[in-house]
Amino acid sequence: MTEYTEQILTTAPRKQGVKRLRAVWLIVIPLIAILSQVYVPRFVPFLAYLELPLLITVHFAVSRQGPMSAMFYGMAIGLVQDSLSHQPIGMFGIVKTLVGYFAASVSMRFDVENPIVTFIICFFFYFFHQFFYWVLARALLGQAMLFDVQQTLVFGLLNALVALPLFKVLDKLRVAR
């Protein structure tokens, strides 16, 4: 094990919980993310594939200590997303609940402030999110949705790229407790 990988595995600065987002940001940020997901693709259709609510969920999960809060935060964001779609309420809720839980669990073991780890986590959870949503839509709703693996991988990479500066900005909003 190299010194670098050892540092990634052993150091987890976010776990110390020194800085956290203010309560108002916890509400405003996901609302902005959902609003932009609803509004912006009208003018730039390509940005429909930018899953900002997912990235916000992952950021919250890796910057908090316990998976419980991340789980409920992901669920709340998912349910709001469900409310703005024409699918039954709970589809995005379940997926983002799992994302929040697993992302928080991962953050316990890795240095999630490392850009490479952030990139990999966001890429993985985007793919997980899309794949699990597809599974739920097929299994629970019986919808014959298409799952384009290649396209999902590409958009996973793009989302992960967007996550790097986004996480930096969100980190700036955190304050010491």
Binding site: Y39, L98, L140, A144
Partner: protein, 404 residues
């Protein structure tokens, strides 16, 4: 048990939350009901912000564009460029106003001449989810909008309302993969089911391979789905080929070309007639129907039916003869005396004008004195008789009016 719960507390809570949401989904799918409270909260929280954003965008985007255009102007031409910029700005503004006025006028003309009761709405946002083709419009249940209402433009159908909230409604576009509607072709009256594909084109399914559908042919709503009134344009066939079981017919939706900005929500739909095609079978010239027959066929009577065949007219004559002799058809025993049909005046002569509707919402054939169809909706709409008389579509346009 306590040890287990404390040891695996997070996992237990996760499982409870997941199961709770699964039950929520199961309830909605099983009962086909929604959870309106959560949706109303979310939509009421998000749509006002969207409306504000939309207003800000509309009033600022033109200025921002012109600002960037003017950034590269050379200093010695500042004055001239400034004047030019002002003119551009004014021109842009006037064009924008004209375009908006044109669209609004087209909508209002269509609204005024369409027999269906409609309400105009503006698209204010998209639905969530990468694959979903749903949009929010700024009219909700407060304006009388309800789930299941059709959404159209003068050019064609756009979608249907899937959820109505107080301030906004969620409209599923016809390109959504879960969308379906009954359609009928213009030339050969081939019926099929329109299905969204998730992209710009739609599929017409369940059309037998033996049916004749050509590229360029128009499809209209058939009214079979009880959502879209009959006779609204759907789109033009872009490709039609034989498939394994059914034909593969792809349609370019006419109502969504150039984007969807302003739409009409059909509050109370009235079925319309599908305009006559030039030729049902290419290569055969079909004469216009005789004026006499057409006049007979369109004269309404009190009993509410149209006589369209000789047999119908003959039957009516016999009924009148029976009534004149106080005979009630269907009540006499076998062998009883029948009415004297020899007293029917001019039994071989032409029939009286006693044509009345078949019970269809609109007269089957509007009067066509010279078999000429007026070019625009205001002239074709027969407001006095209540008959829908849509215009005959040109070769490359739907019959609905744009800017009369």
């Amino acid at each position: 048990m306590d040890f287990f719960l404390s040891r695996y507390r997070n996992l237990t809570v996760l499982l409870i939350v997941i199961v709770a949401q699964l039950l929520l989904i199961a309830y909605q799918v099983k009962t086909n009901r929604d959870i309106p409270l959560i949706r109303v909260w979310a939509v009421t929280a998000v749509t006002p912000a969207e409306q504000v954003l939309e207003v800000v965008r509309r009033y600022t985007w033109g200025f921002v564009e012109d600002y960037f255009v003017l950034l590269g102007v050379k200093s010695e031409n500042d004055k001239l460029k400034h004047e030019n910029g002002d003119l551009k700005l004014e021109n842009h503004y006037l064009k924008s106003e004209l375009s908006t006025a044109d669209r609004a006028r087209a909508l209002s003309v269509f609204q005024a001449h369409s027999q269906s009761k409609t309400v105009a709405a503006r698209v204010i946002g998209n639905g969530t989810g990468a694959n979903s083709k749903v949009v929010f419009v700024d009219r909700g249940s407060a304006s009388g909008v309800e789930s299941g209402m059709a959404v159209v433009t003068p050019d064609g159908i756009v979608g249907k309302v899937v959820d109505a909230y107080p301030t906004a409604s969620l409209v599923m576009l016809i390109t959504d993969p879960t969308f379906a509607a009954g359609v009928i072709s213009l030339k050969n009256h081939v019926r099929g089911t329109l299905k969204g594909q998730g992209h710009s084109e739609c599929l017409v399914d369940y059309v037998q391979n033996e049916e004749a559908v050509d590229a360029g042919e128009w499809f209209y709503t058939s009214g079979d789905d009880r959502i879209f009134p009959k006779g609204f344009p759907v789109g033009q066939v872009s490709a039609a080929r034989n498939g394994k079981t059914f034909k593969e017919i792809y349609i370019k939706p006419s109502g969504m070309q150039g984007g969807v900005e302003e739409v009409l929500i059909v509050l109370e739909g009235v079925h319309q007639q599908i305009p006559d095609s030039d030729m049902a079978t290419p290569g055969y010239k079909i004469l216009a129907s005789p004026a006499e027959s057409a006049a007979q066929a369109t004269t309404p009577e009190a009993n509410g039916t149209f006589l369209t065949t000789d047999a119908d007219r003959l039957r009516e004559q016999y009924k009148q003869a029976g009534a004149a002799q106080n005979h009630v058809f269907g009540e006499g025993v076998p062998g009883s005396k029948p009415p004297d049909f020899t007293k029917i005046p001019g039994i071989r002569a032409n029939t009286p004008a006693s044509a009345v509707p078949l019970g269809a919402p609109q007269p089957a054939v509007p009067p066509k004195p010279a078999a000429v169809v007026p070019p625009s909706l205001p002239e074709t709409s027969d407001a006095d008789s209540g008959a829908a008389a849509p215009a005959k579509p040109p070769a490359d346009r739907p019959p609905a009016p744009r800017n009369p």
